[in-house]
C-alpha cells in the first residue's frame, strides 16, 4: 500500500504545484484527452524514438500495476502513439494511465474504457515499429525542462500534469493540506462578503468605474 499516493489522491494538481515551490508542472499543452480524466500514480518513464511506439508496447509489460507511463518522444508530436488496443492492454496490466509529450488517437474509445490519457492532442497518423530503434524504459526523461524519474508521483487532472519528486512527496503533501485548509477558510469568507483585496492585503488601487 502506497500511503503517500493515497494521501495525494484528493489534491488538485494546481494545489500540489503551489505546495512544491512551483516546480514539477509539465508543459501546459499536455492535457486530458477526455473530460474528467484524472491520474494519480507512480511514474514509469519511457523514452520513445520519434514516430515509433514499439517502446510503448514494451513499457506496458515492464510496468507494475498502478504505475503511470510518462513518455518523451524527442519532440515529434505529429503521430498518434497510443490508442484503443494499447489502452486495453494497459488496463489488463493495471496501468493507471498515460502521460505523453506527443499525440494519441482513438479518443472516444479511451473515454469509453475509462483509461486516462494526458497528451499534446489527437493525431490520426500512426507510428512505425522499428525493431532496431533505441529507446529506454525507467531512465529519467526531461519534458519541458522537468526531469521525471521512475517512482516520482504523478497527479494529473483537468488543469494539467504535476510531477512530485519521490523524496519530496511527504513534505509537499503537508504544505498542500495547509494550503487547502487556508483556501477553504477564504472561500467561506468570500461567501460572507469579504473581498480578495482585503483578505490578501492587496493594494486596492483605483477601482472606480467612472469615465474620466
Amino acid at each position: 500500500m502506497d500511503d503517500l499516493l493515497e494521501q495525494a489522491r484528493p489534491f488538485p494538481a494546481a494545489t500540489l504545484l503551489e505546495a512544491s515551490a512551483r516546480k514539477g508542472a509539465l508543459p501546459s499543452g499536455i492535457k486530458p484527452v477526455w473530460p474528467g480524466a484524472r491520474i494519480v500514480g507512480r511514474a514509469l518513464t519511457v523514452q520513445s524514438p520519434p514516430c515509433d511506439n514499439l517502446w510503448l508496447h514494451r513499457a506496458i509489460y515492464a510496468a507494475r500495476p498502478g504505475e503511470v507511463l510518462v513518455v518523451h518522444t524527442g519532440d515529434y508530436y505529429e503521430a498518434g502513439y497510443w490508442g484503443e488496443i494499447m489502452a486495453c492492454a494497459a488496463q489488463q496490466r493495471g496501468i493507471a494511465g498515460l502521460v505523453i509529450d506527443a499525440c494519441v488517437r482513438d479518443r472516444d474509445m479511451l473515454e469509453d474504457f475509462g483509461f486516462p490519457v494526458f497528451a499534446r492532442g489527437l493525431c490520426i497518423r500512426g507510428t512505425g515499429k522499428d525493431v532496431q530503434a533505441r529507446g529506454s524504459i525507467a531512465a529519467p526523461v526531461t519534458i519541458g525542462g522537468v526531469t521525471v524519474h521512475t517512482g516520482d508521483l504523478v497527479v494529473a487532472d483537468a488543469d494539467g500534469v504535476m510531477v512530485l519528486q519521490a523524496d519530496e512527496v511527504a513534505e509537499t503533501l503537508t504544505r498542500a493540506q495547509a494550503r487547502e485548509d487556508k483556501e477553504a477558510g477564504i472561500l467561506e469568507q468570500l461567501r460572507q462578503g469579504a473581498s480578495t483585496l482585503d483578505l490578501y492585503n492587496f493594494p486596492p488601487g483605483d477601482i472606480t468605474r467612472d469615465p474620466r
Binding site: Q47, P50, D75, R134, G135, P140, V141, T142, T147
Partner: protein, 216 residues
C-alpha cells in the same frame, strides 16, 4: 527551456565549480575543452555509452538514437573512455543535432569533422579531434543510462554547463541548490568587479574575504 536552465546559462562554469566545492560535490570534468563555436551551452543531458567493437556491429549508428530522442535545447553527453584512436562524434551527427536545435555535444574522447561543426555553428566539447572513423573500432552499447565522464557519474536529465573555461555537471536533484549557491557567488564576484572598476586595488578586493568566500 526550463527556468533552471535559464538560470544556469546566466552563470559561468567557474562559479558553478565554486558552488560544487562549497557543497562538497563532484561535477567538474577535467581535460575536456571547447572544440567548436564560442557558444556557452546549458541544458538537460541525454547520455550515450560507446565501447570497443571487438568484432560486434551495431544495429544503429552511434549517437543517432540520442539525437532523435533529444528535445531542442538538450545536450548529448558521450562516454568515450578518453580514447585517442578514433572519433566518437562527427559531421553528419553535428548537422542532424544542429538542425534539431540541440544545445551541443560533450564527448569524453575525440571527435572529427570539427570544421563542419564550426560551419554548422554547432557547439562540440571534448578532448580533441582526430580524423579516424569509429567504423569497426567502436559501437554504441547503451543509450540513456548513467555514464561516466572523467570519473563523474552523469545521469539522463542532469544539467550541464559548458563554456570557454570548462564543463560542470549538476545532478538533477541537487541542481536548484547548486545554482542558488552559484548565484550568490556570482553576485559577490560582480560586486568585486565593480570595486575594481571603481579603482579599489585588486589586492584589497581579493584579500582575505576572497579566500573565505565559499565558506558562508
Amino acid at each position: 527551456m526550463s527556468a533552471l536552465v535559464d538560470r544556469l546559462k546566466a552563470l559561468d562554469t567557474c562559479v558553478v565549480s565554486d558552488a560544487l566545492d562549497a557543497l562538497g560535490l563532484p561535477g567538474v570534468a577535467q581535460g575536456l575543452s571547447r572544440l567548436a563555436t564560442d557558444t556557452k551551452i546549458a541544458g538537460h543531458v541525454l547520455t550515450v555509452r560507446l565501447e570497443e567493437a571487438k568484432g560486434r556491429t551495431a544495429e544503429r549508428h552511434l549517437c543517432t538514437s540520442a539525437i532523435e530522442a533529444a528535445a531542442a535545447g538538450d545536450v548529448i553527453v558521450v562516454e568515450h573512455h578518453s580514447r585517442t584512436d578514433c572519433a566518437g562524434w562527427g559531421g553528419l551527427l553535428s548537422r542532424a543535432a544542429s538542425k534539431k536545435g540541440l544545445a551541443g555535444t560533450i564527448i569524453d574522447g575525440l571527435c572529427r569533422d570539427i570544421d563542419e561543426a564550426r560551419a554548422f555553428d554547432y557547439p562540440v566539447y571534448g578532448r580533441g579531434s582526430v580524423p579516424r572513423t569509429a567504423r569497426g573500432r567502436i559501437i554504441e552499447t547503451e543509450f540513456n543510462t548513467a555514464i561516466t565522464v572523467d570519473g563523474i557519474t552523469v545521469t539522463p536529465g542532469d544539467l550541464v554547463l559548458a563554456d570557454g573555461t570548462g564543463i560542470a555537471f549538476l545532478p538533477a536533484d541537487r541542481a536548484d541548490e547548486i545554482i542558488s549557491r552559484a548565484e550568490q557567488l556570482f553576485a559577490k564576484e560582480a560586486a568585486m568587479m565593480t570595486a575594481i572598476d571603481a579603482g579599489i586595488s585588486v589586492g584589497s578586493v581579493m584579500a582575505g574575504n576572497y579566500e573565505r568566500m565559499l565558506e558562508d
